[in-house]
Amino acid sequence: MDNTVLEFNSVTFSYSGPDNDTKILDSLDFRVQEREFVSIIGASGSGKSTLFRLISGLEQPSIGEILINGNYLTNRLGHVGYMPQQDLLMPWRTIVENAALPLQINSYRKDEARKQVTALLDEFGLSGYENRYPGDLSGGMKQRVSFLRTILTGAPVLLLDEPFSALDAITRLSMQEWLMEQWEKRKKTILFITHDVNEALYLSDRIFVFNQTPVHALEEIKIPMKRPRNLKDLNRPEMIALKDRLLDQLRLKVKP
């Protein structure tokens, strides 16, 4: 069985500077299976966001190839769903208009797009807010609109770049539970960047640790927790041991 939805074949990538090039990825290989939840964890500046820019097609690899659903595409733009760190909702658009953005770009008729968005609002805890503006919403709600917008791209692979980092701890927990439900229900593959070890352990099937720059080999950790999961499962001894191991690894990276 091969359900690989995303594949990196010895991908090398450098940012070219005025004086010298900065190598971020060095012949990196990995695969992500369909309906997997993979978290990517690593110190700031370790190239996590670059990885997303490559997958989404905003950047092209210097060497190597990126396969989506087994196809090698030079123009990957429009093939994966990307949810940025800031919600990037347009303040001049209502909630429905913001969420319908990918539909608008794919030339859906306005009423058709509206219908699709409205059908999902309830599940995203946004009913009653369809004609409000982002300025009226709390941080958690804005992230839900942003996630809804990402879902509506229709892409099977979603890239979430620290989506909850700006939220307070309590909102964050409920958003994590909510995201897990949505992921299971919508049968998506999710790649998830985070700084938060607990978040990564709770949500993921696998964790990729970015441990050196340029990234050559990913340290990969499988999470031995059955689904459906409970936040309390994180208190089990093997999970605590895993967390300590992860934290130790990350601590090594952050050298003074």
Binding site: Q86, T94, I105, N106
Partner: protein, 250 residues
Amino acid sequence: MKIWREYTLTISLLFILVFFWEVTARIINMAFILPSPTAILVKLWELKVVLIAEHLPATLLIIFIGLAISILLGVGLAVSMNQSKIIEKAFYPLIIFSQMVPTVALAPIFILWFGYSIWSKVLVTVLITFFPITINTYDGLRSGSKELKELLLTMGARKKDIFFIVNVPTALPHFFSGLKVAVTFSVIGAAIGEWLGAQAGLGYFSRRMMTQFDGAGVFAPIILLSVVGILLFLLVKWIENKSLKWRQSQ
């Protein structure tokens, strides 16, 4: 009356200034040099028919034609410069330079070119009003967030999508700021144009009264011009609030 409370200080100050003006004017007692505010108001009342029926429409026509051309020209230039680096490089310095030229000094040449027709006045108006519209709109078009544009790209957006979804809405508030400056300038532009050569209009009337040493007659159309400027400004502000409703939720 929220508006009343908000402007209490302004109105009080205005009253004090007008009061001192009245007193000074009465002490000096030379109406052809410094007419008193009451004398101006009386004059305005006396001349109301000829000013409002004959000269105001002439000036308004210049203002509206001038503003319409400025909006088309300004937005057109801003969009072209936003779309093409070559156009930007060629035009931007010239647009700045056009504002270094003293328009008031140039105006007589426009009279030579276009005579006493409306176009000499329109040209003066355009020359001073297109600038704030162009520059503000241009800056607005550039101020769209890079992250947002990249997000649209990941959704498969084309250049056209990004322009209409990101650039135009972010430019709109800037455009309105430019337009607010432009409408107040337009009144000045029209008046200067008429001053230099016209057969009707508030600016023309004011100048004619000067040759007759009628101080109050000079001021009366100016009061009317200021009112036009204020009303135009409020009109733009009203349209702005209507079209940028989302700002109330910020």
